[in-house]
Symmetry: C2
Subunit: 291 residues, 2 copies
């Protein structure tokens, strides 16, 4: 069975391991801090590749930022990572094939092959965490758009410039449904700046009325986004992943979505491919695993 | 060259003509009122087919309502047409092949083959009229989703149940960017119920300050929707069609969209395939014309 060295490059951590064509993790999981400069990131990647490339068939990279349609270059800027990072020449890291894809797209592919959307041709994945990522799978293929950048879940939830989004625009889905989005909603509803996402989640667990109202408002924003995506894509399933996904009520979201859409019934479910779905999905894509 | 009898079935009018594989109209354009009952609609269609089927290779039908993935049945309800209409057995109309597709999808296909999105693999069409229709073309194929109903442009523009939409839900793109949406915006901004879409358009032409503000607010809602779709799909082009599209400033929309999206630059243009693009697109689809 073929194997991939798979590396997940995020703004704060770089992980690596080895996976096989079944999407099984068959190596140690190594975790490093993402260095602050381009040169240091480059040499970190070179060291990882040098150490493991002899035992694998391909090098797979799951990265922050959008990736082009030939899976070798980052498109545009990527937020909180060294400024020069998008210029990285990934192909130069190894003489073996190097395959790069956006982390949310990788995670969506892992769900499609071994996780919550397995066997379903049309799925939308939303990764709810510090930011909100998106991965779109249509007719069993990863959807990338004309340049490779598709699946950015920056669509507007309000018309009147109410919340600034990290993307520079206003009122995007991310600004309401990320972890910081929940904190922002809590601030708006309580008038207190010091309230945290953790406070809200803890409050919900303790059955606190105000915290439950805040949480429900945040979950309603997720619902509103899902309704739009279900009307646009008519998907088999919407998969929720990321650190914030564990708190949502997918039964409620499924029922409400199906009450409001004009397309055919869909499902909202939680991701099941686990914390390393980015590395797994990158490996499966790099190994050409399509089912 | 092969020919199609093509019929456009809307809530108020039924048109028919004959087109060839180049998308050229080569017959008379016949226009009828849409009858009030299912039986009358059925016999109207039977009469049209009986009159022309001998001279064509296929029967093409562009219809209101969403259509399944085998292009022979309406899915769900379709607003202002006879209640039983979705049960129509289109295949039974002729011994020749009968091909049915949603009208906005047909219009998008006409633009893709002979109109504003010709030569561009990824396009989104928005039909701004009494309602708002959508047609999505990805990688040179009409995107239909799991059941055929995809491309419904009912995504939310506001979070707090501000405007009821014709679909039964709240605050959809259609509720803000259709003709009635412009009237609604005008009512909100002036406090007057008797103001019409026509008043706003006439006022803009006469350089009236208030009417221009109302129009700009409506156009900003179109912009907000396009930004979201461009981030989700990373399309080559967004095509605006329908009776309300002639008034928008596509240069402004293109510039503003490209300032705000995180995907790669796109274009906003007006449709060019003309008033009968639904019939033309249905014909081209039924004749299997893909470029």
């Amino acid at each position: 069975m073929k194997k991939a060295l798979t590396i997940d490059i995020g703004g704060t951590k770089i992980y690596n391991t080895i996976i096989n064509e079944k999407g099984e993790i068959i190596g140690e999981i190594e975790k490093l801090h993402t260095p602050k400069t381009f040169e240091e990131i480059k040499s970190t990647l070179e060291n990882i590749v040098k150490k493991f490339e002899y035992e694998v068939d391909v090098i797979a990279i799951s990265t922050c930022g959008s990736v082009n349609n030939t899976n070798d270059k980052i498109l545009g800027s990527t937020g909180n990572i060294a400024k020069g990072y998008p210029t990285m020449d990934f192909k130069a890291l190894s003489k073996k094939p190097v395959y790069v894809e956006n982390d949310a797209n990788c995670a969506a592919w892992a769900e499609h092959i071994i996780g919550a959307s397995k066997g379903m041709p049309y799925s939308i994945m939303l990764t709810l965490g510090t930011g909100v990522g998106g991965g779109i799978i249509l007719d069993n293929k990863l959807y990338k758009g004309k340049s490779g950048a598709a699946g950015e879940m920056h669509f507007k939830m309000e018309r009147n410039h109410r919340r600034k989004c990290t993307c520079g625009s206003w009122d995007c889905f991310e600004a309401y449904t990320s972890g910081p989005g929940l904190k922002h909603t809590a601030e708006e509803m309580t008038g207190k700046n010091e309230i945290t996402t953790y406070d809200v989640i803890a409050g919900v667990k303790n059955n606190d009325k105000v915290m439950k109202e805040i949480f429900n408002c945040w979950q309603e924003d997720i619902l509103n986004g899902i309704i739009g995506l279900a009307n646009i894509f008519d998907p088999d399933v919407v998969v929720l992943s990321g650190s914030m996904a564990e708190f949502v009520d997918t039964e409620y979201l499924t029922q409400k979505t199906n009450e409001e859409i004009v397309t055919q019934p869909t499902k909202v479910v939680k991701a099941t491919a686990g914390n390393y779905s980015g590395m797994i999905g990158a490996g499966l894509l790099a190994l050409g695993v399509t089912e």
